[in-house]
Structure formats: C-alpha cells, structure tokens
Amino acid sequence: MVPVAQCDPAAETSVRLRVSGRDIRICCGTGCRANGAMDVADAFARAYDDRSTLQIHTKRTGCHGFCERGPLVMIEPDGILYTRVKAADVPEICTRTLERGEVVERLVYHHPADHRPIPLAKEIPFYARQTRIALRNIGRIDPTDIADALAHGAYAGMRTALTELTPTEVIDIIEHAGLRGRGGAGFSTAGKWRACRRAPGERKFVICNGDEGDPGAFKDRSILEGDPHAVIEGMIIGAYAVGAHEGFLYVRDEYPLAVRHLEAALAAAREAGFLGHDILGTGFALDLAIARGGGAFICGESSALMRSLEGRVGEPRAKYVHATERGLFDLPTVLNNVETWAHVGAILAAGPDAFAALGTGRSKGTKAFSLVGKVQNTGLIELPMGTTLREIIFDIGGGMRGDRPFKAVQTGGPSGGCLPASLLDLPVDYEQLTAAGSMMGSGGMIVMDDRTCMVDVARYFLRYLSEESCGKCLPCREGLRQMVGLFDRLVTGAGQTGDLERIEALAQTMQAASLCELGKSAANPVLSTLRYFREEYTAHLEARACPAGSCRALTTYHIRAQDCNGCHTCFTACPLGAIAGVKHKAHRIDADRCIGCGACFEACPRHAVGFGPKMVCAGQEA
C-alpha cells in the first residue's frame, strides 16, 4: 500500500484524494459481468450502506472499454482505476482508498515495460490516446438512470435541434460535420436524411441498426448497454430532421442486456416527455419501439433488416430501390447504425466544427473499434479517424500477447480483409482501408500472430458466410459453397493444381454478380489474404504444409526433451491424454493419439512444445 504520490512522481500534484463525496463506478458491461462484476458491485453497495457519512455513491455503469483487465472499478473524481477487482478486494478498497486516501497498488494497472504502477486511468496508454464522442458517457453514467444521463449532458443536442433549429438546419449541421455511417459502408448521413426528407409521403420511419453481426465487433452492444440515451437522442433528432413519427431499434437477440437497458431508457424518455405526442412542447411527435433480431447475420443488411421488421424472411433487395424512398413497408425510411445515431446528439450539442476538426480528408470525427485477438489490451476504444494501425495495436493495444510476432490485423468482419505488417503505418479511415482491400465495417479489429493461418482465416469467413447467405441469389449461395470446398481441400493438404486460380475466378464473379453486399464483399477476406499472404497459400497447395502450424491435418506436435522440465502442465492441458510423462522428467507426445489441437503448445510455460509439418500424401485426406 502506498500513497498515490509515491506511485508516480509526475502525478504528485495532480492527484489529491478526497475523503468524501466520491463516486465508485463499477463496470457492469457484459465482459466485466462474466468476470464477476455484479458481485463486486453488490459488495460495494453493502459497504456503502455502512459508510453513508462519507457520501459515497456506487454506480453500475456500462463498459469502461478495458475489458481485458475487468472487472474494472473507477474511483471518481480522483480518476483511480482498479483492475481485475474481486468482491474480496472491496473491503480493502473501502478502508484504504475511500477512508484513508491511499491507493491499493496491487490493483492498479502496471506498465507492461517497466512494471511501474499507473493509478490514474487518464495516464494509462489505453485511455490516454482516445477521444470519446460516441462513447462519451459510457462508463460514466448509470445507463438505467435518466437523471444521471441528463446530468452528463444527454438530450442537450435534442433540445437545441427541436427548439432552435428547423429540420433543414439540422441536416445542414450534420452535413457540415461530415458524419458518415458507422456501420460499414460509410454513406453520408446527411445525404440519407435529405433524400428521406424530400421523399413524398406523410408516413416515414427512422431505424436504428443494432444487428451487430460482424464477428469480433461489439461497439454497438457496448453503446446500447452503456448509454442507450445517446442512441435515442440521435434518433429523435434524426426523426425531426426527416419528418418521421415512428421508429424502430432492431437489436440482436444475442444482446439481452442491451435490450433490457434500452427498454428502461425508452420508458424513462417517454416519462420525461422526450418521446410521445408533443416533445418538449414543440408539437413534434415520435415513438420508438424495440424489435429483437432472430439471429441471422444478413439482417444487418439494411433491406433485409426491414423485411425482418415486416415479419418476413430477411432477404435483401436490389439496391436501385432506395430505402429513403421505399424502405420499411415501402415507405421512406432512414436507417443508421447505433454508433452513427450516438454521434448525432454530441454534434448538435457541441456544434459541427469540433467534429469536423477531427479525422482525415473525407473521414471526419472519431470511430469506435473493438480491439481483440492476440493483443495485450483487448477492449473497446474510440479514436480520431486517421490513427495508424501501429498506434492502435502497439500503443493503445499494448502490443502482442505472449511476445509472438504480429502477422496481420483483420478489419471489417466477413466483408473486410487481413492487412499485413507492411501496412501497419496505414492511417485508418474509410478510403485507406478500402484501398488496401479491407473495409471499415462495423469496427472490429482482430489482431493475429504468427500462429494464425491466413488460409484458415479466409476459410473461417467463407464457412461463416456460407451458413449465413440467405440463398436468394446464385453467385453468393453457390459461390460460397464451391469456395468452401476448395478451401477444405487446401487445409487438409488435398489442394489441386489450379485451385488458387479457381478461387480467384470465383471471388471475382461473386464480387461482380451478387445481389447484396454480403455476397459482393464475401470475396474480400479471400482476395486480401491472397494478395498479402500468397506464399502461405502456395505452401498449403504445393508443400502441403501449414507454416503457422494451425491447420490440424498438416501439423504435428513434439516436445523438445532438453527444454522440458516435466512441470506436467501439458499433461493436464491435453484433452485426449496423448501426453505421457511423470513430474520432473521430460514428457512425450503419442503421435497416434494426438489430434493436433495445440493445447499443449499454448499451455507450456517453457516453450518446449514445437510443431512441424505432417506428411500428407496427395489425395489422402480428400
């Protein structure tokens, strides 16, 4: 236990621990909940009852972002962040920090390089480089308490829009800010709104696309869970701008907590008079309803989502029919992503210039990403457009996990691509990612190390998409099926001469001829890995080997006797009992029983497990 001043000399003057009137913000996002955050929150709530003279408030907030280190507890206004907090740590935090003003050093983040403790969140590199607009109130407010949201500026942008501006002026501001869709394609938000406003007809709709289907992306879940009011506020402003009086929030059924918080927030907003017949006495009327998704990836596609809202099978439509003219029930509709809506209120409240000042040429403002995979600091981040991949992965992400070398980063989910180390200095914005053969997508960023096989990653996305293809158009339905077959051959060492050319031809056909973006962009993971990692494909095809040691049919494992100290860890990790050996003596893998899962490789603390190619005769595994 050390006082803050001793932890970090630089912070000596900035940190003054208060002895009363503190907020304890416990992250209760899905991630921290899985690690026991609710028990921590309960423990604080119990402790707080006994210490009410200190005026300590416990608050259950949404995701603080630093999921890797959860459960997270933030002590405000000091700004101390405690990581990996267990319920058993709570009495110590109460006694030491809340009563005596000391920092519990073992619970603070330690710098990975020099192991220096960093008690203040704002000085942790993961937080220090971020600029939060869409995520402005997440982790700060209790998402189920509208009064708390209002105290943090929620609905201020709505008030400005509805009471001081005309609908056209609102659209002009959004245009001036340069806001583009945060769901993937990056359409101009103001452009959509203007088209819908101009479309003839009295009945119009606004829709929030919360069907965040890209595997590896969870920014929308975190926004809906942690600050549903930002989304509702954005939709009210959007509805006012386009002249809509009905709206829907389409949320994945896999996000139960998001649905619960949204339901509570809608009820509170109705109660407060922000939804209903005469909002803020302006005469403007709007109501919003939640629709839960049915677990179909394609429903994240806007026209499929609208069919799903109509109670039908989620099949997309050809895009010459514009949703802004004929969308839901064939009526003019504006559909925006969760994050896009969350930006709107902030832009109206702060003015468009602040937003437009951030970012690059045509990509303005900030973008939220979920940073996951083989990186040290996994979690949710928001950065100005134009930040480089290197800054994201190595400065904010803290570099690679387990000291393995960086190999690739996958962005944009199944529609995106894998970018290699040579592109680490690429500034991340819509144009740059597309030019590099990937995509912004919904902001998933999956970091991969040398143990990730690029052929396997491409195959993973193909299999994923072939299950999720709605089957309406042939290039997507059949193209994916054929592609999966070709990749199955590659990863089992049964590839045939000409397979790479067949794959490329199929990919190009799907790009050109598919009906919707799912099929058109399905080729991206394949083409980008072929472009940057062709030698890995050749290895699978010609040498029938997986250089990453990831494809099971092509990989064998062995233990280097000279490096093994007989700690028995691999013996316990092996699911099949294929490892023989007694403690303190070198262990051995029984090649006949080994299924090549790699559990021993991951488990070995001494890196004594090695892998090598397995001899596969051509056609043997076919």
Binding site: T30, A34, P215, G295, R312, G373
Partner: protein
C-alpha cells in the same frame, strides 16, 4: 422425455400481440422463450391467430437461427465461434464439448441435460474464447475447465 405441450403460455402470448404479420417474429421469440423450442402444435395456432399461412411461418422459423423446432436440453451451451474466439481456440473447445457430451452442435443429449449450439458472435470478444452456459457467460473458457463447468451446468 420430451415435455408435453401446454397451450396456456401460448394463448397468453398470442393475446398480447396484434393479429398481423408484423407480430410473427416477436410472437415466435416469446414462444421459443416460454417453451425453449417451437412446438408444432403451437405453430399451427400462431399461423391461425396471426393469419399467416403455416408454410410462411415455417419459412421464417427455419430462416432465423434463434428458433428451434426440437425440444432443448435443460442447459443450453452456446459456444461462440466469432473470429476472436476462433483464433483463440473456440474449435478446440467445441471439439472437447462434442467429445464429452457425445453430441454434435445442434443436438441434445438423450437425457435432455444439455443442448450444444454454436453462436456467431456474442460480442464478448475481449474474453475469448467464450461459451454461454445457460445464462452465464464463461470467459476464457479453456478445455481443462469443462469438467467443473459441465458439472455445475448439469445441476443448475
């Protein structure tokens, strides 16, 4: 061992919704929640009440992943096979579950103890690999934790 069909919860659900096509998916979701699957008897009633042809009801049911036409186990295990989980070993986890439960994804154990499913991404990627045991999210689900986890799940 499959449960007998009790029409009462279904009637209660149907009474809450307007009898039109747009109610179809929310009704089916509620029925799925109430019965843990979609009983055939129930689908016929849904079709009749909402005025949606049974064939159309089936097309919706089989299109969306969230719906099941077979009775589910007491504990449903969902293994996340999202990208982050995939590269952190979701395959290994799934293989081991298949081996221990002796069922493939989508199947239910003969005693209706467990149903094994895969799910595309539960958005808890920072904790990969993730599995959901009933309602509980298990972070960093490693194969060596499975015996204890399945034991708890079996008793829940």
């Amino acid at each position: 061992m499959a449960p007998c069909f009790d029409p009462a919860p279904l009637a209660e659900i149907l009474a809450r919704y307007a009898p039109r096509e747009t109610s179809l998916i929310p009704v089916l979701q509620d029925v799925q929640r109430a019965y843990a699957y979609l009983p055939c008897e129930g689908l016929a009633a849904v079709s009749k009440t909402l005025g949606v042809p049974l064939a159309k009801v089936f097309s919706v049911v089989t299109f969306y992943r969230a719906f099941a036409l077979q009775p589910q186990g007491r504990t449903v295990i969902k293994v996340c096979t999202g990208t982050a989980c995939h590269i952190r070993g979701a395959d290994r986890l799934l293989d081991e579950l298949e081996r221990r439960l002796a069922i493939a994804p989508g199947q239910t154990t003969p005693d209706f103890g467990f149903t094994l499913k895969t799910v595309n991404c539960v958005g808890a990627c920072a904790l990969a690999p993730v599995m959901i045991l009933g309602e509980r999210y298990v972070a960093q689900a490693k194969t060596n934790r499975l015996p204890a986890l399945l034991d708890e799940g079996g008793h829940a």
